[in-house]
Symmetry: C2
Subunit: 220 residues, 2 copies
């Protein structure tokens, strides 16, 4: 498979959406899809889809569209789903618990190995079959069993410190839910943050735009 190493962030961010859309099409029994139909279902143009996928090689056949299962598999391969990445969750408050209990890690190619907390009420227990250890043992655990990703769902005050500890203990990535922009402690560690507020403010913008255009219509 051809790989263009200079792929833009915008294209990278769309890949998981393609993967999700193709998974849904596959579940619905769709075998083949044209770039225009795929684009329509995702709010993109056919040419944008063709350009995006061209960054990663030749998919589909002119005039025949894409085979859903093989395109999904190829994109999954690009996303690293088959690499068997592992992760641990730091913090078992409501958010950590929600993620441990409900997030489908295995569908995304990840294996959740353990959770860490400092609360004596939860240390030593299991959440959805995942053992919860004391945070003091984090480095010892990671030394014995290297882990790819640390999920940060700790309180904001502990975010940077726990991020540093994860990086120093050799994780490759940090999945950051703390709403704190942690400064990457090592250039080798990728930080991916889920900022709920960015999403809500986008919604706020879109609603405000509608409100304004309704106001304009009322005036005319």
């Amino acid at each position: 498979m051809k790989r263009n190493t200079k792929v833009s962030t915008a294209v990278i961010r769309r890949l998981p959406r393609y993967y999700r859309q193709l998974s849904e099409l596959q579940e619905a029994g769709t075998v083949r899809i044209s770039s225009s139909a795929l684009g329509k279902s995702m709010g993109l143009t056919a040419s944008q889809i063709r350009q995006d996928l061209f960054c990663f090689g030749e998919f589909g056949q002119q005039g025949y569209g894409y085979k859903v299962d093989s395109l999904k598999e190829e994109i999954g391969e690009i996303l690293g789903i088959s690499r068997g990445h592992t992760l641990v969750v730091l913090g078992t408050g409501n958010l950590g618990r929600a993620i441990i209990q409900n997030f489908r890690f295995s569908s995304n190619g990840f294996q959740l190995l353990a959770a860490f907390d400092v609360n004596p009420g939860v240390v030593g227990s299991e959440i959805a079959g995942v053992p919860v250890y004391h945070a003091d043992g984090l480095e010892r655990f990671l030394a014995a069993r290297p882990v790819d990703v640390g999920v940060l769902t700790v309180p904001i005050a502990a975010a940077q410190q726990m991020g540093d500890r994860l990086a120093n203990a050799g994780v490759k990535g940090i999945w950051n839910f703390t709403n704190y922009e942690i400064t990457c402690p090592s250039p080798d560690v990728v930080v991916e943050s889920v900022h709920f507020s960015d999403s809500l403010l986008t919604l706020s913008y879109l609603i405000s735009q509608r409100e304004e255009s309704e106001l304009q219509e009322d005036k005319t």
Copy 2:
């Protein structure tokens, strides 16, 4: 303020990031910032910053940079932060509870009015001062007190149905955490989804790229 109504999605998605960055700069006491310094802190080029902000009018002064507080205020205005949008949360499981307890709605210009659930163990109680009502009373509540946004943190099986109910009851937007792509029941309702899996798969991709380049280095 000039408003270009054909603003691209990518620019819209960056606005909350500008707002967040400017808030942090303001808290750190920064009064003025150049487009190149602002860009550097956000991983963007100076010219991208100038282009983005140009979509919304003239900000900053050639050679003097941007005044942090007034640029933050202007962007907040564009995002609709001062409009006093209101919301209700549907579903008080771990995720709903995490959002109700920890998300800073007021910093984003939102007011959280109530939560809804069907669990008799929680209906009638309060979470962080927010009253929890039975979901059967949703329409009655929204009829008496129109609300801008419904936050969906219900189980995936209830996602579409609750989305439909919110739309029929007149909300302007749905903030969707269910990991289910709800089909917009009305063209007037904006659906903004937070897909945790898109974020994790982006991280998976970035880690996989690093792994491959390390493999290449080892070979040479």
